[in-house]
Symmetry: C2
């Protein structure tokens, strides 16, 4: 079997996968229903779905022969956590700037 085990950063690096996520943010969809929105073949979309699933961006509910895809929060949380670290960085920077300004004010 192929790998299809990309980390969350690699997963969202692909424009097609981001569009899939966007479509799923509007509605739950099956693989074919998703594939209709793209120029690429259905198997290609199917692979993307697998990647998104493995990285925790979607969950899949099998209903008969159809596979219904729904957004799942796990993958997004990993990204949030990564960004939060740098949010803190910018926050700290502002704090330091504020402290600096206070110092200047007090000196006057």
């Amino acid at each position: 079997m192929e790998q299809h085990r990309l980390d969350v950063f690699q997963v969202i690096a692909d424009p097609s996968r981001r569009q899939i996520l966007h479509l799923l943010s509007k509605d739950s969809r099956t693989i074919n229903s998703l594939a209709e929105n793209f120029d690429m073949s259905r198997p290609a979309v199917s692979k993307h779905i697998k990647v998104l699933y493995n990285a925790g961006f979607i969950s899949i509910q099998d209903i008969g022969r159809e596979r219904h895809c729904v957004l799942k929060q796990d993958g997004f949380k990993e990204l949030q956590a990564w960004l939060a670290y740098y949010d803190k960085f910018w926050g700290d920077k502002l704090d330091k700037l504020g402290a600096l300004m206070n110092d200047k004010m007090n000196k006057k």
Copy 2:
């Protein structure tokens, strides 16, 4: 000239570039100072720097023959904006769940 014009998603998809950002979150550094932390060659790091710069993740201050790299917020903001859309999605979902629970409570 080569392209080196990746979008913010592709930029953070590379582990080396994420580590560079992490190093820069501790301290401002020159290219060589950054390269010491990696197994790859200095030109490779230099390319990553260019990519990070073009995507708005760092700013560069030339001091003599040295290039001092500093984190810049622009690149991160693009990612925040993308994630914020889905944050809203989860928020809405919770709202709907809350409304549903209220309905059930009222019926009892």
